[in-house]
């Protein structure tokens, strides 16, 4: 595969938590190419969220290179322009929605990108309409339900027209109706994405390949083969191998 065409390319990334000597990411390599729809299923604490934050430049790795759109990024300054091209959906929507009303929040990204008030408002409304939640336009953000917040947060990310989406457990705490809505929305998108989730059915419904993580490294689907079978042992819900 041509390296220059990859959207995100992590090479040899090592990351420690501040004040700790345990490697969360250990010489990790990851490549996301246009059109990729990758799922990531791994146990809690294996460094999935850290991985996403490293891609966004929110966690500074101790070693290794991060290349996004073929450009190696090292400083905070380098990350600024690419952040709008990568949409990160946070685990907790309350972290992401900080404006008083839904429309303000969805328009926040476009306004930062320099769109005029009118254009930003139009973009926000269009995005809400695409996700079928235009009726929330004037709702007060903190009064929405968990599922509504998740959809609005997704709209907020999509309003910036990213080229790749990183989703951090998008289904956590949601009921089946919202989950199905999410599946429908994700399958309708024409951009690449990388989904972290614990839910096999969801990952299977929205992705083409499934990765896992172990000891700070990524196991690609050549190494793992996820399937469902009856279980009694303790790792039944998590990716595992039988020897």
């Amino acid at each position: 595969m041509n390296n220059i065409s990859s959207i995100i390319k992590l090479k040899d990334i090592t990351y420690f938590y501040p004040g700790s000597t345990k490697k969360v990411l250990d010489h990790l390599d990851l490549e996301i190419n246009p059109g990729d729809r990758i799922g990531m299923m791994a146990p809690n604490g294996s460094g999935k969220t850290t991985l996403l934050h490293t891609i966004m430049g929110l966690c500074k790795p101790a070693s290794g290179t991060i290349a996004i759109f073929g450009k190696v990024l090292t400083q905070e300054r380098d990350f600024l322009p690419v952040r709008s091209k990568i949409g990160l959906l946070f685990q907790d929507s309350d972290d992401q929605l900080f404006c008083p009303t839904v429309l303000d929040d969805v328009a926040f990204g476009p306004l930062n990108l320099g769109f005029s008030q009118k254009d930003a408002g139009d973009i926000a409304r269009n995005t809400l309409e695409k996700l079928g939640i235009l009726s929330f336009e004037h709702s007060i953000t903190h009064r929405l339900s968990g599922g509504q917040k998740r959809l609005v947060a997704l709209a907020a990310v999509l309003a910036m027209a990213p080229e790749v989406l990183l989703l951090d457990e998008p289904t956590a705490g949601l009921d089946n109706t919202v989950k199905n809505t999410l599946i429908h929305i994700l399958n309708g998108l024409d951009i690449s994405y990388f989904v972290i989730s614990h839910e096999f059915d969801f990952v299977k419904a929205v992705t083409d390949k499934i990765y896992s993580m172990e000891n700070g490294r990524i196991l690609t689907d050549n190494d793992i083969h996820i399937h469902r079978h009856e279980h009694v042992h303790k790792y039944g819900k998590q990716p595992h191998s039988h020897k």
Partner: protein
């Protein structure tokens, strides 16, 4: 949960630009606070009643909003007439009520109610979002506007976090009593709340960075220029100014 009960409406006041409403409320309340004459304070009071009527607010609801103020005023009415120096007005069971004390109480009562009514009519009739927008446009520093908007957004999140912690403590058999263990538990709760709030603040900031935040505050609201705005601002300013002049030269 913060209710914005008065924020929706179609009255004359609701149609005014938030900026204008903030400015007029500042002008009027400063003039009221500086006024030192009982009858003139009465005129300000009538103006504030007029504004409440213009905003079309429910009288009972407005009275409910004034309730905390009434407790404060009650305290003043108990203390001041008895303790203020001056000519004795009434003697009651060996206690002296002084005339200047009673007059001062009247002034404080009228002025404080007036100022609160002005703010209810002009400021409480807009959403926090519009208030932030208005403050931004009268050049209040962005940091302060952000502080207001963020507090409004996250106060309920922090409240629910506090409730969750308290519930978790209660489920493990915690019953508040007057002892060291209870105080310690509450101190832990408060400490934990601070820790969580600061961790959340960091995550919110990261989320803002991810969406291209560059320390600038943009807003969507556009208020069409309305001829009412300038008329209202001029009217209120002229009224306050003339009352101030009357007080200085004639009273």
């Amino acid at each position: 949960m913060i209710e914005e009960k008065f924020a929706s409406g179609q009255s004359l006041i609701h149609q005014l630009d938030p900026k204008i409403r903030i400015l007029t409320s500042i002008v009027l309340s400063v003039a009221t606070a500086l006024c030192d004459h009982l009858y003139l304070a009465g005129i300000y009071f009538l103006i504030s009643i007029g504004l409440i009527l213009m905003a079309g607010l429910n009288g009972m609801d407005v009275l409910k909003r004034l309730k905390p103020l009434f407790w404060f005023l009650l305290m003043i009415w108990i203390i001041l007439p008895l303790s203020f120096d001056g000519e004795t007005m009434v003697r009651l069971y060996g206690l002296k009520l002084t005339a200047p004390g009673v007059i001062l109480c009247c002034k404080i009562t009228i002025k404080s109610i007036t100022i609160l009514l002005i703010f209810t009519a002009l400021i409480a009739t807009m959403t926090i979002a519009s208030l932030g927008n208005g403050l931004h446009r009268i050049h209040v520093p962005d940091k302060m506007v952000f502080l207001l908007l963020m507090s409004y957004r996250y106060i309920s999140v922090i409240e629910s976090e506090y409730k969750r912690l308290l519930r978790a403590a209660k489920f493990r058999g915690f019953t508040p009593k007057t002892n060291l263990h209870s105080y310690k538990t509450y101190a832990y709760l408060a400490g934990m709340l601070f820790v969580r709030a600061s961790v959340r603040a960091e995550r919110v900031y990261q989320a803002m960075l991810c969406r291209g935040f560059n320390q600038k505050f943009h807003t969507l609201d556009v208020y069409p220029s309305n001829r009412l705005n300038s008329k209202f601002l001029t009217g209120i300013s002229v009224a306050s100014l003339s009352l101030v002049i009357i007080e200085i030269f004639w009273v």
